[in-house]
Every structure is written in C-alpha cells, then in structure tokens.
Amino acid sequence: MDSLTYVQNTFRDYYANNFSLQSALQMIEKREFGFASFDGWMLRHRSFKTKNELTMFLQDFAPHDAYFSCAYYEEPEAEMERKGWLGADLVFDIDADHIPTQCSKIHDEWTCGNCAFSGKGITPEKCPKCGNERFDTRTWPCEVCLDSAKTETVKLLDFLMRDFGFSDKEIRVFFSGHRGYHIHVENEAARSLNSMARKEIVDYVTGLGLDITYFGLSDRKILQGPSTKDQGWRGRIARSAYDFVRNANEDDYKNAGLQTNVELLIRNKKALLKSLDGVGTWSTVKGVAFGTWKRLVEHSIGSISAKVDTAVTTDVHRLIRLADTLHGKTGLKKVEFALSAVSTFDPFKSAIAFKAGTAKVIVSDAPKFRLDNEIFGPYKCKKIELPTAAALLLVCKGRAKVVE
C-alpha cells in the first residue's frame, strides 16, 4: 500500500467512525465551504443548511483538508462576485512560520523553487540568491515553536479584550492542527469591517507604524512618558519596559541594543522603575537621555506586540480550516479550547484523532517528538512499528513511508 492510500484510508476511518462537529458554527447556512480531495483538486463554493448535512458530507467525502469561510454570504454557492458579502468574522492566524525561534534553525528548511538555493530557519520572503518567491519547505510542528505561538496568542488575547473591548464570549481560540493557533472574533459590529480597517487592527496588535512621538516621546526632550497605569499602547509600553528593567541583567541590556549605558541603567534601576510606574515624568532620571529611553521603548514594543499573519486577517473572503477536521499535513485535528484554558492546553494531547492501532513505517528522518505521554524518535532511516497517530504524523509530514 502506498503512503497516500494509507493516509486516505486512515482519514476515511476517522470521518466514518470517530468524527463529530463539536465546535459551534454560527450561521452555517451563510458560509462557503471548500474541500481539498486526495487527488489534489479543490471543491469550492459549497454550502450546507445544517451541521448535520455537513457532517454527513464529511463522513462520505473524507477530504484531505476541509475549510469554511470567515465570511457570511447571501448566496455562498454563487461565484465570488455574486455571493453578496454580508460580513466576516475577525480572524487571526498565529503560526510558527512567522515567529523566530532558536530551534526553527534546526528543524525547518527551505529550498528555492527556482535556483534550488536553500537554508535553515524561517523561510525568507525572497530568495537571497535569485529573488524568487516560491519555496519548497520542510518544517516540523515542534513543541517549543508551538509554545512560542501560544505566547503570541496570549498577547493577542490581551489586546483583544483590554484595548478592543471584545468579551470572552465573542473570542474563540483553536489549535490549527499544524504549527499554530487561530483566534476568531465573532462580534456583530466588527463583522462589517473592510479589509483596510482590518489592516489597521493588525497594525495595532503588531505595533506596525507606531510612532513614539505620539506617546510623549519627541526628539530630545521627554515630555510625559507613558506610565504603567495608562491604558492602550501607552500602558503596554510602560509595563513592558518596567518588567524588562526589573529583570534585566547586563546581557539583556546588551541584547536590547543598550550596551553603552548598561552601567548607568543598572545603577539607576530604582529611579527608572519609579518613573515608569509613576506619573510618567521620565526626564527626572539623571543621566538617562532621550536616546536611551527611546531604545528601551522600542525594545519593549517589540516584545509585547503580537506576531500575527497580516494576510489572513485582512482577507475578508478567507477560507479557514474547519474545526474538528483533520489537517492534511499532520493527521491531527483542529480543535477549539476554552479561553480560560489557554495556559494549560496541550495541542499534542487534545488534537490526537487516533487512539488505537499501529502501522509499520520506514522513517527517513525525524526529530524527537511527543504525542500525549509518549516520546518518539529521533529517527534516522529506521524501520519501526508506531501507534497510528505517530505513524500518520510522520507520513503526512513526508518523513516516513508505509511499509508493504
């Protein structure tokens, strides 16, 4: 049996026997659905009246990937121009692909589709050699990377609730089934926002275009810097700088680009904290000049902004993976979890779709990984019998072939 057939059969088994749509789907009849088949074609512009109808379709079709639109349409089945856009949920995608981690240099690789130039770590936007923008990538859903994606998620949630005022009932969080998290905001007023308005929201949470002169810091003289008690970005900047100053050692200052002032900053720690925590009259700390404050603030902005994927949020027609369906690149489920459970949520437990059975595979290479409580690997050119979920993950990621 070839590997693709194995994956297809396993997916079929899941949809026929274990599948149910747990996650709520608001106004299902107004959504467009799309499915990728195992033969490589895409079925789009489908719609379903009820969850039941959709469930039956999935049980029967067992797609490689299943998607639904963040948008609501008058006629979801019509061509794009005739669909009648009624609005769209505000959606954020946080993916390890966009977050620099140390380990991505170990487990992620890219190869230029044009000149075959290759490298490790985050895929560049353009090939450094020929400028081409298409790449073949080889990535890994790594636990450390997913943790950093979760950290970004937590930062985003704080923005959404405190600054944007969305309630916990309007915000939903999902593990994507691969390398990241999806955050959906279902708020009636926000639904109507066009793509430009959504770009403004993305720029807000990523801190793009933030100009410190609007935060009390203008050239050379410091008027009224932000205080930890302030709201919005002002408070965020001050709180982030406060945490940094409180915990930073010499190296941290150096890494933040403050090497020339390390001694001064450490000596003045108390006064700095007082300025940040107080009414924000920053100019009172002796010897700490505008340039130093500026650098400190810029560093703080970088560490509290949430790294979301701009293209996803600004696309008001976007198709997004459907919760409770399998991710074709991992065989893991996309799963929703409670906002209150963010810190304890374990993607490598909750997203496992197969609890029984085994498969024999030849693994070309794979890093060490964990599923639920079991640790696997690392493997290199190894023939081995693995539990279904582990075998499926390796086969889907192109790291293993099914034997016989």
Binding site: G165, S195, M196, D211
Partner: protein
C-alpha cells in the same frame, strides 16, 4: 414647532441642514419641485444657487443664521441643483464645500450638540468620563475605523491612538474632522440618485449657469476628468480606492501617490493631465508635482519610465484594498487593468 426630545434648536438645523430632522423645522415641509419656480419661493432658489456658487468660488459654503427657514430649505434645493448640473465635479466640490463649513462650525460647537450631530449618522460617540485621559470624546472603534482608514496621516493610524475597551479617545477638533468626512460622504450619496426627476425649465436654466460658471473659473479639462481612452471601471480596487480618496481631498502616502501616478501614466494618461489632476484636488506645490510626474513618466532625470509596484509590494504597504475575484489571479495592477479593459 419645538421638539422636546432634541437637544438641537432650529438655529442649529440652519447650521447643519443635512441632519435628518432638519426638514421638520421648516413651515413648508412638502415643497414640490414645481413650486420652486413660483415667485414667492424665489428666495429659496436664490440661496440654493448661492450655495453652489460659494462652493465653486470659495470651496466653502457660508451660513446665514438670520434666515433659518431659507437656510434649511435651500440645502435640499441646492442638492437638487447640483444634480441638475449632471456634472460630477461640481457635485463633489459642493459636497466638500458644505463639509468644510461643518468642520469650522463643529470645532466651536458644544459637546452636547456635537454628540447630537454624531448620533444623526449612527455614531456611538460619548463624552469621555475617564478623568485620567486628556480627551473630551470617546468613539466606538468600528465607527472610528470606518471613518479613518482612508486617512493616511500617521496620527490617524489606530496604533497611534489611545484605544481602550473598544473606544478611541479623541479631541473636539478630531471629532470635527471625522464628522466632516461623514457629512461629505452623506451629501455625495444624496447626489448619487440614479434616476433624475424631470426638472422644471427654471431649474435647468440655473443649473446650466452654474456649469458655465464652474467651467470659467475652474477650467474645462479638470472638470471633464479622464480622456475617453481611459476606462475607469477597469481600475483594480487598489487604484479605485487611491483615486477616490485623493479626489476627495485626502492625503496619500508616498507609496500610494507613486502607485496612482505611475498607474495613470502607464495606462496612457498624458503627464500634463496627471499634473492637472493632482493640482485640482490638492494644495501640492505645482512645480514639485510636475517634476515628480515627469520623472515617473521618464521625461525628466532618469529617462526610464516607472511602473507601479506589484501586488505583493502593495499588500505589504497596505495599498491593496478589498481585492476581488480577478485579483486572486493577478500579480500586478496593470495586468488587472488590461484584462478588465478587454472584457468591457
């Protein structure tokens, strides 16, 4: 007539005649078009004509608060006159000129009345209750975004604003500025009416006079806009947005301006017309504008003609706006245009 529930008096409606309730304050609410030609209605028609003339000459429409009735009723009549000119340049200019006056008035307006005007347009605007924040108003985030995304100046960027719990905090001047945009759009919309009524000869006559006046003062080329060979309906969404925001007097980012200029040149608009276009809608320094346009066209300096950035680049700069189905298959706004031109 008095309406106990409103915080606005008749005098305020004379100042803001575009408000929904304004018409209830005049004695002759069901005035018909035909009646306007009557000699005892002459004052109304005269003032309406004047409103348009002021728009053409001064770019701002004054207020005569001593004659409230005429002031209120002459507004819808002026809108009708603008429609009767069948000239989109005059119409746009009129909408902007009324909005300009509104801005001046609102800057000095009381908090209570400002809130009332905002409410008329469905805004969730409130006085700021948070003493820690030095702003007079709090505006609902969605209302804020709807009214600012096309304003490219840095201070309007959401990330540079005080945003808390779904409200954006604003000063009176900023609220006035945003309401001005709303008023302009509102009037433009009223002018959009698809089917024009049959105007009595007197109205058509005045409309013709206004047209003539506008041609004499502003110049024919600018009023006519694009040469025939340029198919405006084939513009991709990004260009449409840039074009519209620029022609309604907004400031474009550097990339935005470069994109629009190079696009217009590459689809065959003569550099001279592009310069005229920029000149007519902004206070850009003419010499600089001319130099830049000619530079992009390859007539000055480098001698190479520039083309607009490709879609990917426009996306990262936030110039790409509401891409449509055709966009999905496009990598460049110029190819979008060429394909669409063939199709139309």
């Amino acid at each position: 007539m008095r309406y106990a529930f409103s915080k606005l008096a008749k005098n305020d409606y004379a100042k803001y005649p575009f408000l929904k309730a304004a018409i209830k304050y005049v004695q002759i609410p069901d005035l018909r078009i035909q009646d306007l030609a009557d000699s005892n209605r002459e004052n109304i028609l005269k003032r309406a004509q004047q409103r348009l003339e002021e728009a053409i000459f001064d770019n701002i429409v004054s207020r005569d608060l001593h004659h409230e009735d005429i002031e209120i009723i002459s507004f819808p009549v002026a809108v009708m006159l603008a429609m009767a000119t069948k000239n989109s340049f005059i119409q746009k200019r009129y909408a902007l000129a009324e909005a300009n006056q509104t801005y001046e008035d609102l800057r000095k307006e009381s908090e209570e009345k400002t809130l009332e005007v905002a409410k008329n347009f469905g805004w969730e605007l409130a006085s700021n209750k948070e003493s820690r924040m030095p702003y007079r108003f709090a505006l609902n985030l969605v209302d804020y975004l709807r009214n600012t995304t096309h304003l490219r100046e840095k201070p309007w960027k959401l990330v540079n604003r005080m945003l808390s719990n779904g409200n954006v905090y604003l000063g009176i001047d900023e609220v006035a500025r945003l309401l001005k945009e709303e008023v302009r759009r509102h009037i433009e919309k009223r002018l959009e009416l698809k089917e024009l009524p049959a105007f009595p000869p007197k109205i058509t006559e005045i409309a013709e006079k206004i047209r003539k006046l506008s041609e004499d003062t502003i110049g024919k080329t600018e009023m006519e806009g694009f040469p025939k060979a340029i198919v405006q309906v084939a513009f991709p969404p990004c260009i449409k947005a840039l074009y519209e925001s620029f022609s309604s007097g907004r400031h474009l980012s550097h990339v935005g301006r470069f994109t629009l200029t190079s696009f217009l040149i590459n689809i065959g608009m003569p550099p001279e017309t592009v310069v005229e276009f920029f000149k007519s809608f902004s206070d850009y320094n003419e010499r600089m504008t001319r130099y830049q346009v000619e530079h992009i066209a390859g007539e000055k300096g480098s001698r190479t003609r520039y083309i607009p950035p490709k879609c990917d680049t426009l996306k990262t700069h936030g110039v790409c706006t509401n891409p449509d189905e055709l966009c999905q298959r496009m990598r460049h706004p110029l190819s979008y245009y060429r394909i669409k031109v063939k199709a139309t």
